[in-house]
Amino acid sequence: MNGLVVVGASYAGVQAALSAREAGYAEPIRLIVDETSLPYQRPPLSKGFLLGEASEQSLVLRDETFFRDKGIELLLGTSAVRVDRQERRVALADGARLDFDRLLLATGSRARRLSVPGAEREGIHYLRSLRDAQTLKAELDAAASIIIIGGGFIGLEVASTASKLGKNVTVIEAASRLLERTVSPVVSQFLLALHHQNGVDIRLSETVARLDKDGDRWTVTTGSGAALHGDIVLAGIGGLPNIELATEAGLACDNGILVDAHGATSDPLVFAAGDCTSHHNSFAGQQTRLESVQHAQDQGKAAGSAVAGKTSPYTSVPRFWSDQYAAKLQMVGLSHGRDHHVIRGEPDQSGFSVFMYRQNRLIAVDSVNRPGEQLIARKLIGAGVSPSPAQAADLSFDLKALPLPRAAEGARP
């Protein structure tokens, strides 16, 4: 029995291995990852860790004893370089080969690289791994200013952290509003104001034309011809799925390894989960690739159970959170195609939620500092229950009073 080999030991890989065990998989499980540290949490890298509030120790996802107790062998610091599906074998960079009965790819995603002139220079920061965060932190501590290319979640979180550390921060964003594809315009506006209040210079509808370095100083020339100077340049312009192993092995991929609701790929012996996959998402009504902890864990759970022969399809409502300054931003559902929205509360720091509708159906809710409301919204969207826009906008209306279908009562919040 060669058992299960999992490539990638972050949220998806660790959860899948654990879920396979919990679903009764009794064969060996080997979890391999190219990083040298124990599996760790990534969200704090741009927040608490960079700020100096969270230590490397506190990021650890699971102790070594956890893996030992579960009979999961963890192989750190080695990468899978090739998958031979005929021989059911994975080749590692160090020359070792692992035979498998089942394979699970949880290779995640990587930072998209800049492609403007000067982008090939040494020293441009990207933030994805603990290593990246450690180098960025060391340089940021000594720097006076940072230029952030990209006003997405990572860019804005680093902007908030750097500004808390007293740095001069500039953010360059190509779109005309922040987080254009992910949050409602009300939240974009709220965040813009929040960053301004904290002294961050945000340049919307602006691109980067080239990067130059003179000694330790960077000059970023923008599309409109401005020359910005800073000690550090960080690019946060999105992620790309790590699908090379899968494509070379001939698995069906399209901006992600294609998987069904059980995490199965086009080869029934090979599964995949997390940032590296693309699945048909019923809340989006289309093929979707998600990058979030919730997705990696829930899909990892489905794939791990399927390896053990138990079905537990992945049907969770997509959700994401981000922390910037004192604002806790939480999102549930997918807002493509929204045609109507209402605001619950006042769009200020005391907290509010934006309820988004498509043809009178509640499809997504963005909240700022309203975790309770967010949790109710998860249940509502998960169960397909839509408060009327008038009810959603009325703070005196108790959203918890809306009846949920029976099956949804116990659904994951």
């Binding site: 506190s58 959700r319 975790p371 409301e373 919040p413």
Partner: protein, 107 residues
């Protein structure tokens, strides 16, 4: 180092050292204490690190913040006056062994 004693619904117990500055949830996750999920890693996003503080120690705990209180409204198991989120819970000075009861379910 302070200790935390986790009591499962069936009475099974485990006592662990809690590294200073780490939360009850972090201690549970790192030692794979059953019954604490912590889907969001402590970001007040998931309500799956719900625990009950022992009645005898409730008075010694600082109260929940407004945000923790809001998230507690969505916990899966019964919410009691002793309900807290493990990710927001640290051992207060003066307590040597914090006693934590694990709820029946988190999901």
């Amino acid at each position: 180092m302070p200790l935390v004693r986790f009591v499962e619904p069936n009475g099974a117990e485990r006592t662990l050292e809690i590294v200073t500055g780490t939360s009850v949830m972090q201690t549970a996750i790192r030692h794979s204490v059953r019954g604490i999920e912590a889907g969001c890693g402590g970001c007040l996003d998931c309500a799956t690190c719900h625990v009950y503080v022992d009645d005898s120690q409730l008075h010694a705990m600082p109260p929940a913040s407004a945000q923790e209180d809001a998230v507690l409204a969505a916990v899966a198991a019964e919410r009691r006056p002793t309900s807290r989120l493990g990710c927001q819970l640290f051992v207060p000075v003066g307590i040597e062994t914090l006693i934590i009861h694990i709820p029946e379910t988190q999901l």
